[in-house]
Amino acid sequence: MASIDRLGNRLKVLRAERDLTQAELARHVGVTRKTINTVENGVFVPSTVLALALSRQLGVPVEEIFYLVDDGSSA
């Protein structure tokens, strides 16, 4: 079984496709621009609620935004 290393995301790409700035997306989901920035950079792992809010705002399933990155090792 592969061990889960971290949460990856395509938030920056999906946001750019919709011509949204970080600040605009942040306002729509009720967080600060810095929070969107840290999610995009993988610094902050969002809650399920925020992930679903982003999913709804961008109009894509949550698994299209976020995915698990495994470290490639197996046990």
Binding site: A23, A26, V31, T32, R33, K34, T38, S47
Partner: protein, 146 residues
């Protein structure tokens, strides 16, 4: 609105940083002066008292600004919610945990120092409060950097 949220966030960080610096600049000379007692030369004791008094005035000014910011946010719930989103809450939780561990380490060090020096309970209590508060606020500013 988004520019305002960014601006308010930056302002809050500046206020907290000023609050922290003023608090430390007020408390540290006060604690050192009280702990040193008669051992401190009068000139240095006087200078540290003036420094502490100035820092206390600045700390009060920052406290008032933070209080005014809180009052302002009470009238803007959307802004308040954005400025206290889940990343900020997580940063605050981690900062409080850091402050707790900093206090434990400090108290352990004071306990060891007490084998060699005579330290009053008042000094330990006051310096412990300063360490815990300063560590927690400082850690929040670091964790909140993003």
């Amino acid at each position: 609105m988004e520019d305002r949220i960014d601006a308010m966030e930056r302002m809050r960080r500046r206020m907290l940083a000023g609050f922290l610096v003023a608090f430390v600049a007020w408390q540290v000379p006060t604690i050192v002066r009280e702990a040193a007692g008669a051992w401190m030369p009068p000139g240095i004791a006087g200078a540290s008292a003036v420094l502490a008094a100035l820092a206390a005035i600045i700390w009060i000014a920052y406290s008032l600004r933070l209080w005014r910011l809180q009052r302002q946010l009470a009238h803007e719930p959307a802004m308040a919610e954005a400025l206290d989103d889940e990343r900020v809450k997580e940063a605050r939780s981690r900062a409080l945990a850091f402050g707790f561990w900093a206090l434990l380490v400090y108290l352990a060090m004071v306990r060891l120092a007490a084998f060699l020096l005579e330290i009053s309970a008042a000094t330990v209590a006051q310096s412990g409060l300063v360490v815990a508060a300063a560590a927690a606020i400082g850690a929040f500013l670091v964790y909140d950097r993003g």
